[in-house]
Amino acid sequence: MKHRLFFVLLVLWAAGLPAHAHKFSTAYMDVMQQQDQPLLVWRVSLHDLTQAGALGSSHNAELSWQQVLNSETLLRSYINNRIHFTSAAGACRITTNTSDWRVKQQQQLFLVLPLQVYCGSLSGWQLSYQALFDNQHNHKLLLNWKIKPAAANLVLSPDKHFYPDVI
């Protein structure tokens, strides 16, 4: 037997066995209108946000609510880099207030984040979502766009990351 190196065995083990499915990452978002401006409510797994480094260290096995609140700046930056809202007047501003944050137990623990959006126009609203795609290969957003006439339930993924299609 000339099975030489341990690392060869590790790869060998990987090579010779069938694949199985890994866990699927899903977030939810409601998009509605409040006082002539869009309001987004993003429900995202605390575990996924932690892994993405949006709440500090990605190696945390435990997390406190205070740590979540303390990550406000980091999380704001993460949101502003990956969630964009535009109108006919151009890019809209997205903010979130920690006093509105909640958690929800839904198979796993979700952070419920209301995101206030300020747009320069009442028309041509469009959401572009690219959160968690870079560190959860199977991440998808189940979007509930409640604003007429484009009201719809649909799925956003790396292949189709914005809605509605046409402004």
Binding site: V11, G16, A21
Partner: protein, 356 residues
């Protein structure tokens, strides 16, 4: 239309309800029970924290990817993916990188992409052992037996033991179950000190062949001694065999020890099946219903076998089971995938006969 209804249903389930609340500042949660890093991984992490090079990054990614195959360690798959994303342009031309990418791709059932990555390894090393084995595995998943045999052939001058196991696995898939099983058994008996990884690999093939010969009890016996160290795929095979023999208690005991949040859908389906077999209150079944509603709403097509299992064994919906088994068979064509397709088809035919 069905997907739209499902999405509405999932959104209804996901609406803010009684469980949404504003926590106290001191409230803490365990996001995942500690997945223990090995000493080597800790050292590699320390090296990475100091700036780390591609070699350390690839080694750590390999360790995570290897670990991710164990039940409950799915998160490590994403850690491996993230580490690979940080590999430099130079590092992306190395054999190790292509191998790891190929492994991730085959785990995602992106078999064609995996073969393309392996082709890059073969351009650098035409008889690379690990790449040859992985190529054989991918071809087996695609039921391309001639190509699988050619991939095994690359091992001929590299490692006779690996070559033989690989060849006998392919021969089994060609329908020569009895001859291959006898030969592999002899091979296994002649190697009393096999390293664990090789032992698990060989036992997995022997269990599949024993099952094909109708020897389900023996198939279980091949797997049980190595379960504690075995990857999820072996656990799934063991659970399916056990459930087929009405041994739901053993499946329930083992799988219910894993934290529910870390239980992959594939394992949860088997646990719910065991729960039903034992007549227990359906807490795992309820969780599975919720997870499957989300899976259906997401419109995923990869790893459709989980959904086919769900419809066949849990919901008893032969029509949906067949639809998902067909979708699964479109990408994966191993004996288990074929078996699932046949079972679903038979169930649907039986239902049609009853209705007539």
């Amino acid at each position: 239309m069905r997907n739209v209804l499902l999405l509405i249903c999932v959104f209804w389930l996901a609406q803010p309800g009684a469980t949404e609340y504003r926590p106290d500042g001191n409230e803490r949660w365990v996001l995942h029970t500690g997945l223990p890093l090995t000493d080597d991984m800790i050292l590699l992490h320390q090296e990475m924290d100091k700036g780390g090079n591609d070699a350390a990054r690839l080694q750590l990614a390999r360790a995570y990817l290897h670990g991710a195959r164990r039940p409950g360690f799915d998160d490590w798959f994403h850690q491996a993916e993230q580490l690979l994303q940080g590999v430099s342009a130079n590092g992306r031309t190395t054999t190790d990188y292509f191998l790891l990418v190929a492994d991730i791709q085959q785990q995602q059932h992106q078999f064609v992409a995996a073969l393309e990555s392996l082709a890059k390894v073969f351009q650098l090393h035409s008889t690379h052992v690990q790449a040859s084995l992985m190529a054989a595995r991918v071809y087996l998943a695609l039921d391309q037996l001639d190509n699988a045999q050619r991939a095994c052939g690359r091992l001929w001058q590299q490692d006779l033991f690996l070559f033989s196991v690989c060849q006998y696995e392919v021969a089994g898939r060609r329908g020569q179950w009895q001859q291959s099983y006898s030969a592999l058994q002899q091979l296994w008996q002649r190697q009393p000190n096999l390293p664990v990884a090789l032992d698990i690999w060989l036992r997995g093939i022997l269990a599949e062949q024993a099952e094909q010969l109708g020897l389900n009890v023996i198939a279980i016996q091949w797997l049980e001694p190595v379960l504690a160290q075995a990857p999820t795929s072996i656990w799934l095979k063991w659970a399916d065999l056990s459930l087929s023999l009405g041994q739901g208690r053993a499946v329930y005991q083992l799988l219910s020890e894993l934290p529910l949040s870390q239980l992959a859908d594939s394992l949860l389906v088997r646990l719910a099946r065991a729960e039903i077999q034992l007549g227990k209150p359906g807490s795992y079944t309820e969780t599975l219903h919720d997870r499957m509603q989300v899976r259906l709403a997401r419109g995923d097509s990869e790893h459709a076998a989980d959904v086919a299992h769900y419809f066949f064994y849990i919901v008893d919906d032969a029509k949906a089971a067949l639809q998902w088994a067909e979708r699964n068979y479109h990408t994966a064509k191993e004996p288990d995938d074929k078996h699932l397709l046949t079972l679903s088809l038979r169930a649907l035919e039986a239902n049609s006969e009853v209705l007539e």
